[in-house]
């Protein structure tokens, strides 16, 4: 008997990663907040550590529309213009 595969067969997809920065010294850090409770406080703490211990120049918080969607275009464009690295995460 021959059966047809019900799954999505992976098609090759190239994802281009930006090279990782060698150091955060002087970097402008974007913090992408996913709107979940306390996510802003957690990211603020992370930002403070990046400035204090890793020499980042500044941090700036960006807020997604809601936790279930990717960061919207306006945020991404603004981060491209004004920041060097971004911290994003998803979780409860």
């Amino acid at each position: 008997m021959e059966l047809l595969d019900p799954t999505t067969e992976a098609t090759a997809q190239r994802i281009a990663y930006v090279p990782r920065p060698r150091s955060l010294e002087g970097a402008r850090v974007a913090l992408i907040e996913n709107t979940k409770f306390n996510s802003d406080r957690l990211l603020q703490k992370i930002g403070e550590i990046l400035v204090r211990d890793h020499g980042a120049a500044s941090t700036r918080m960006f807020r997604k529309r809601n936790a279930s969607v990717p960061a919207h275009e306006e945020i991404v464009a603004e981060i491209r213009q004004t920041c060097d690295v971004a911290v994003a995460g998803v979780g409860d």
């Binding site: 008997m1 059966l3 047809l4 019900p6 279930s68 969607v69």
Partner: protein, 345 residues
């Protein structure tokens, strides 16, 4: 339709049970599936008269195109008859709609199911249960159409428990969660007509949903009496800090009591909406709303859903018994909304 099927083919040796083979591939939801042979898949596609590579939906945040062929393969496995295929296709379109926002309810720890409410003449053609034992079991259409949708989510969209399905608890409706509205016995306009479709059209409404919660009132013979009990049950349910929708399913006795008092669905929605507000004080005291009690919190009220129209009222369930049900949605209005799709039969 002779067009080529693109799916990878698996040869099952004689002496190997094809059902066990499907289990071993990880294709099943935990129940035996019907082995998806080419003849069965072609019969499924024939029922909707589309090419195998026709894109039924595109799940943006997963970058997945759901083709008619994959829907057909999964509908076969779920045990659908070919004539159910138009409903499955419409439901897949619904969960692919940006307003439904697949990635949220398809992934979330909240563990929502997909409630499918079928309206229009196709309910009778396919024998979709609208009456006794509404949430099942016992009806092939109800059990297999919803199962087909879940298998598409699992096998095509990647919503597998433990990976891209992070449901903490899930619920039994995630196997299949299909009801029809009892339009023949309902005194009210059916859901699809309220949502802008013609009575003779058939539709499916998809709503990200928690499990059904039954409530009981055998004392009241007025709309206010029955709905007071319902509102009291509903008021603290689901995620009271944000809900896009509720479905309210009114079964025979309650339906007749409410209609007998001269109330329509609009009055039901308005009454329930007004009586399901919670004070900020209560929400803070019960640790649902963050932060310490503020002056004025006793008087400051938060509605369960943004608007009365966010409550979907459906007449369905058995004739006898003073029970009805309400179903909380998932997330918030920004995260996922119920979507109604026409069934092209």
């Amino acid at each position: 339709m002779a067009s080529t099927l693109a799916s990878k083919r698996h040869h099952v040796e004689d002496g190997t049970d094809p059902i066990e083979f499907c289990f071993e591939q990880g294709w099943s939801d935990g129940l035996p599936v019907v082995p998806p042979t080419e003849a069965r898949v072609r019969a499924m596609l024939q029922a909707v008269r589309v090419a195998p590579d026709h894109q039924v939906a595109y799940i943006e945040h997963r970058a997945v195109a759901v083709t008619a062929e994959k829907v057909a393969v999964n509908a076969v496995m779920a045990g659908c008859r070919p004539e159910y295929m138009p409903v499955v296709v419409a439901a897949v379109k619904g969960i692919g709609d940006p307003r439904w926002n697949y990635h949220g309810p398809g992934t979330s720890t909240g563990g929502a199911g997909v409630l499918l409410i079928v309206n229009g003449p196709i309910r009778r053609t396919l024998d979709v249960n609208c009456g006794d034992n509404l949430f099942g079991p016992g009806w092939r259409a109800n059990l297999t159409i919803g199962r087909a949708l879940r298998l598409v989510m699992r096998n095509v969209c990647g919503s597998r428990p433990g990976t891209l399905d992070r449901g903490t608890l899930g619920h039994p409706g995630r196997l299949s969660y299909v009801i029809g509205e009892n339009e023949e016995e309902s005194p009210w306009p059916p859901l699809h007509v309220e949502r802008g479709f013609r009575p003779e059209q058939s539709t499916v409404t998809v709503m990200a949903a928690e499990g059904p919660r039954q409530f009981y009132n055998q004392l009241s013979n007025t709309p206010e009496g029955v709905l007071t009990t319902l509102a009291d049950d509903m008021r603290i349910s689901g995620s009271v800090m944000g809900q896009p929708n509720y479905a309210v399913v009114l079964a025979g006795e309650h339906m007749r009591t409410i209609a007998g008092g001269g109330w329509g669905k609009k009055e039901v929605r308005q009454f329930l909406w007004e009586r399901t507000h919670n004070s900020h004080a209560h929400l803070r005291r019960t640790h649902r709303m963050a932060g310490a009690l503020q002056p004025g919190d006793e008087e400051r009220l938060r509605p369960l859903v943004e608007s009365p129209d966010d409550i979907l009222v459906v007449a369905a369930g058995g004739r006898a018994g003073t029970f009805s049900a309400y179903i909380p949605g998932w997330g918030s209005k920004r995260s996922s909304q119920a979507v109604t799709v026409a069934i092209d039969a």
